[in-house]
Symmetry: C2
Subunit: 448 residues, 2 copies
């Protein structure tokens, strides 16, 4: 509170020369007034509510961390993509670009005293210093959902169910597919054929949607892979569809393995959760992060207009990287901005107006005391209620009630009040009735 | 998502030398695991819910802003108290230390298209580079509640009602008093007696609780005030108590004025809101900010153990400072950290455990499909339900259910299942019953 409590004078020297800077938010940063926020809050309720019902618990983490913990996970390159700086105490710090290192640290210290699994979610702001574009901001929110301590395919399946549940609740399941793979499949094959530069191969495979098949083959060959291997790789990454349908094809090329058996079990469980229709096998997804160890998933717009909505997978070695005990982990993350774009396209973004249950209006200043008390009674029942703060005439109070989308207006006037009555106006129909105070309150409580 | 999608390898060069840095959050920053967050979420629900019921609407603002907008309001001194830095684009920016400049900017652009008043709240993280101490962190949350567009005392009274409603809902009303004044009272008197250095006088008055009466008189005299004026000032700032009780005393010294008449109206309204018992007149509160124009309030711990909980007041000139139309405004802000300390002292901080409605356990791997489907049915009804992700033995599943505070466990075993039955265990009493599936579900839905 110190800044507020010190007597510091308003400084007008900045007013004129910097006016054009001062009144704009920074590039890539958003601000939301009440109506925009009402729409967003409905989405946030879903993003939090679905994992909640699966027993995931909310956690909250610092927005600034030592830069080292991100270098540790992602290498020095991360610095260029972060809002990092040296703080006034000389510490090299950064606004967090992702939550995983912090959450891994929290698990490392919490896991000693706990029964596994630990199931956590967070919904926090992240910051990345990147060029803003459609669906990508420098400041955004991200839901992270993670299960720690279970190496079992059950945990993978549950996370897919959470992700699919969110898509369904947002009205996006017709438009989005969750692509599923196991990074040991392609990786294992590349090991098997003794590929020289796996990293380069992965980078090329990741370009699948951007280059032609011939271009891809040429690029793959240039890494030293034989013509047969290139053909096989191209066959593998073109396998896409229902897991049960397409898994035999994978097995016919790669043989059975832990990875294919686990995929088969996953497919069965996805049916139990009744979400197979939003899932598909896709050996071509190459989530860049080296720390994924087996199961990976990535959600794609079926029309291909936008980049991946979200991604995740199993990262069994990350907690130990941060000094914790060896702890299997599986998780995914969804950013808020791309969701809004897809929901708007799908027509499921709710532009619904603000909710107000009742406005208590007065015909006369002397009635304001009664309006305040009546409003308090309704608020005690959880209603959203406003009174006139401007001493407006009745007609303008009604106009304001309409602007805030009030469902009801109770009008308090001296003559009626002396008979212990008020006028209840239904703002949808315009119908007005003279009722006792209790009748009016009951009406508002019953239908809001 | 770019950072995640690029193949960047885990970099172990940071592991050893920096281990002691890496695994600690920064000084003055907090992190909250699930149980701590559950306690906090109950408080957040109150902090948001009370203003919501008065029709205040949530907004959300950027966490980083051009540093100029804070200099504009608070002068260059602000820089030393902020997490400010030059971003990668060469912009002088800062993590926001308060919300007012941003909100004023938002109002300035939103107010053209709107009916007044605009009633907004935000609950956001703020950052201040100050020495951390009890109840003061470098990163904290703050609730801000503001009414724009109404110059009326009704708006002031409503904000006091919101603040008092929050204190009551948090169980703090016995421990906290909202001290109320009008800055024109002392200010007007100092103008009247032609005080040379009003700012110095205010700073001295602000030390009221830290120095003796004699020390204060001596310091006040040293600013050039006459002995009579010093005596009068000391009388004025010692006036404390019920507004109606003490206002006549103020009037006997200062005469009637707009400020005393407004205070009298405020006192009347506070009674309508039924919160006079938490309010008192206190001419000694000197909120430092020059931008307050009349009504000011500050909430104090009645035991005097902690600094002010929150403060606020009327600031009719700030929106125009940010280029908006002249817009009266009144608001207050509450930080989260001091609330937790006071609630712990008052015994109202809820250390309640996590909520889980039901765990669906299995006696046998083959039953897991049924457990998953049963869990889905309960989740569709909004229940918080977990299944076993670890293939634990039944006894250990029950132990986990107890650790997550599950109210019920449904045990699915092959023999019972073949008769379309399950065992329902009440985790409070340990009682177990064999029931049909629908009966078990009904029981869980009814009593969670």
């Amino acid at each position: 509170m110190d800044i507020l409590q010190r007597g510091i004078s308003i400084n007008d020297k900045y007013l004129n020369p910097l006016q054009h800077h001062v009144y704009q938010p920074l590039k890539g940063f958003r601000e939301f007034t009440d109506e925009a926020m009402a729409s967003r809050n409905r989405v946030i309720e879903i993003l939090k509510g679905v994992p909640q019902r699966f027993g995931f618990r909310e956690i909250d983490i610092p927005s600034i961390e030592p830069l080292e913990i991100f270098k540790l996970k992602s290498g020095d390159e991360i610095v260029q993509q972060t809002f990092s700086f040296v703080d006034k105490g000389g510490r090299e710090v950064t606004l967090i670009p992702e939550t995983t290192p912090t959450v891994a640290r929290l698990v490392a210290s919490a896991s000693k005293a706990r029964q596994m699994p630990i199931k956590w979610y967070s919904f926090t702001k992240l910051w990345r210093y990147e060029e803003p574009q459609s669906g990508r901001f420098r400041e955004f929110y991200q839901l992270n959902v993670d299960t720690f301590g279970s190496p079992d395919v059950r945990a993978d399946a549950e996370l897919i169910a959470v992700a699919a549940g969110i898509l369904k609740a947002l009205g996006l399941s017709p438009d989005v597919r969750i692509h599923i793979s196991d990074r040991r499949l392609i990786d294992g094959y590349l090991d098997h054929v003794k590929a020289q530069d796996k990293r380069a191969v992965m980078r090329i495979l990741d370009k699948r949607d951007k280059i032609s098949s011939d271009e891809m083959k040429e690029m793959l060959s240039s890494t030293g892979l034989s013509r047969d291997v290139v053909e096989t790789l191209c066959s593998l990454i073109s396998i896409k569809g229902g897991i049960d349908d397409r898994l035999p094809e994978v097995e016919s090329i790669l043989g059975q393995s832990d990875a294919t058996r686990r995929m088969s079990a996953l497919s069965e469980m996805i049916e139990w959760y009744e979400v197979p229709e939003v899932c598909e096998l896709d050996l071509g997804i190459v989530r860049g992060l080296d720390y994924y160890t087996s199961f990976i998933m990535e959600a794609h717009d079926i029309r291909g207009e936008y980049r991946a909505l979200f991604g995740g997978g199993r990262y069994d070695e990350l907690v130990s990287l941060f000094g914790g005990p060896s702890t299997p982990a599986v998780g995914f993350a969804i950013g808020d901005a791309i969701l809004e774009i897809l929901m708007r396209r799908a027509g499921t973004w709710d532009q619904g107006p603000l909710r107000t249950d009742c406005m208590v209006a007065v015909t006369d200043d002397s009635m304001y005391m009664h309006a305040v008390r009546l409003a308090s009674r309704l608020r005690e029942k959880g209603m959203i209620v406003e009174t006139d703060l401007m001493r407006k005439k009745l007609a303008r109070q009604l106009s304001y009630a309409s602007a805030i989308n009030a469902r009801w207006v109770i009008i308090v006037g001296p003559r009626e009040w002396s008979e212990k009555k008020v006028t209840l106006r239904n703002m949808k129909t315009g119908e007005q009735r003279s009722l006792t105070i209790d009748e009016a309150i009951d009406n508002v409580l019953k239908d809001t």
